[in-house]
Symmetry: none
Subunit: 200 residues, 4 copies
């Protein structure tokens, strides 16, 4: 019986994941408003009614994307734990990888567009409980402590600039339909901004 439950639960998790990923792909390709629950069900290979066993509504499907991004950021941070370079180098690396990775996963564009249309939901607002902001502010603070970033800046100001770069690149990347070298561009702009900051 336990076996069966596990079996069943496993299947259920698979179904949930199938739904989530179907939704993400479709949202990304056509935009939130142009994807219907029936479309998602069709792509996930189940009935429309069944979606409601796993997600309370369409909204909650979009909002899954923040969890998804957090996972990505955490895995980047995890893989850098043994990096012993100065904080400013690690910050640079983290930003570049965050930009590249987050643009690999296409849902994010959708999430960004959604956030742009609904700023009041504060989906992308600075929020210390979310891994992205936690990791980033940690790194920035270490930079300030090690002296590579002058104390005259607040953590928030630094983060804001980096976020502007990240989101600007995401935007342009989408608009130009992926036609430039995103890694080079990220490295270059993150550098420009950090150098500028360090010089003051």
């Amino acid at each position: 019986m336990k076996e069966r439950m596990t079996q069943r639960r496993k299947q259920a998790l698979e179904t949930k994941e199938r739904i989530r990923s179907a939704a993400f792909e479709l949202f990304n390709q056509y935009g939130y408003e142009n994807v219907s629950m029936q479309d998602i069900a069709a792509k996930a290979g189940c009935s429309a009614g069944n979606l409601y066993h796993y997600f309370p509504g369409k909204d909650s499907l979009v909002l899954q994307f923040t969890d998804h991004v957090d996972t990505i950021y955490e895995s980047i941070a995890g893989s850098m734990q043994e990096d012993t370079r100065p904080a400013v180098e690690r910050l640079r690396s983290f930003m570049v990888r965050a930009i590249v990775e987050s643009n690999r996963e296409e849902v994010i564009t959708m999430g960004f567009s959604h956030a742009l249309q609904h700023p009041e939901q504060k989906t992308l607002a600075i929020n210390d409980s979310r891994p992205y902001f936690r990791i980033l502010s940690d790194l920035v603070r270490q930079c300030i402590m090690e002296g590579s970033i002058p104390e005259s800046y607040t953590t928030e100001e630094i983060m804001r600039r980096l976020m502007i770069i990240q989101r600007g690149i995401l935007f342009q990347w989408r608009i130009e339909q992926r036609s430039f070298d995103i890694e080079a561009m990220s490295g270059c702009l993150v550098n420009a901004v950090l150098s500028d900051i360090c010089r003051h």
Copy 2:
């Protein structure tokens, strides 16, 4: 009789403008997909059917925003015609003003969000016939000619970086709900990027 015609035509133009601006406000506030033609009509003070005397459809209402932006950019460029400073200074000024002005008009955010969801419409794609790109590429070319930007960069590369900055700021400005100094931030980031470029 001509007088009367003018009267009528004037009223018609007013109606058209009322519709356009109602649409812009609503789109900006609630997002394109969450605004119905009825909503627009109600706000414009006319019947829904009447909208179709002035605009062939909902789409064409959104697309008006590019014209609107173009007007802004042209007026900035116009007001700078007698500026005799080096090209790189003028580029800096133009960018800062473009960012500040375009964020003053709220529709633009909506247009950007729309462009993000429909990149295939190439609303914001580089397009030499649009004033923004014409002005920008002119200035960049002058910088290259006067030597302030090295020849190793193409105009397009420079423009891409500036656009990333502009759009990143717009994004963040919207997300943080206008809670930082946009002029200072623009100056700062445009500087950082241009300095970085000039140094190479």
Copy 3:
């Protein structure tokens, strides 16, 4: 001053005719329900509002077609006034010409389709005051009098058969998109029916 009035009236008549013929062409091509008053106005080269100076509504525009058909039938009858052949020959000729001529004018198909959809309006019902029926019943009665059609038939029965032939041809002609010889077919079927009648 009289001149001017005449001038004006002439222009008015021209406009009315332009509207009528625009409506007919469009109705015929696209069907009554798929043509809007604005379409008609555009084709007639005037404003939509102006249509209402000449016709009280869209309905009355369709109904014009019966007048139009009557004119055709009267002109056929007129041109046959000096025909001295036996009545049955003249009936044959009239039918063939009526079929051919009425299919030349395309509106008629539209009128027929309209009549089919609204039989309660009795647009095509037998109606002695209309030229078509007057002419036809005259000819049939002459046939009976001259003995070429037996007295055992009523005028109405004969007319009904001829009308069936006429409308069947019109139908098929439309369905097959004008791809057979309508004159030969008319002659042939009218003959078959009349011969059959005469034999009994």
Copy 4:
């Protein structure tokens, strides 16, 4: 469980049939363009949205009528399989029954009217894959083989004449609002046409 599924499916089929028949009655009574999806839903006793579970759109509802007619024709042909009379007699019988039966079902008039308005859809065009035309051309060919119809005619020419008779009767039957003996009329006109053909 299978039982239950059957129950559900049965109910679904009933609903589909209720919708189809509601649509047919209404189309026939008021004409395609004067019936709204809401009307159909109301008559079928379900919501308008539900219509779209069963039929992709309004058009597809009209087009169901050809299937309906085909069923009728096939049942007539089926019931004549053991008829051993000469082909020309069987052709006569088939035509009369086809005319009478098809006029019993009122939708057909509506379908015809629709076909008249949209000849480009070729709903009623000669189409060898449809039972009506297959049966008819079979019978005609047999007549030619047995010598009752001269070889100088093509199958198509014969069929065209019979179709003209059938459609003409249908037309007149509708226009005169069912006020004559359709069986007698069919027999009489089919006879007249076939005799005429046989004589040449």
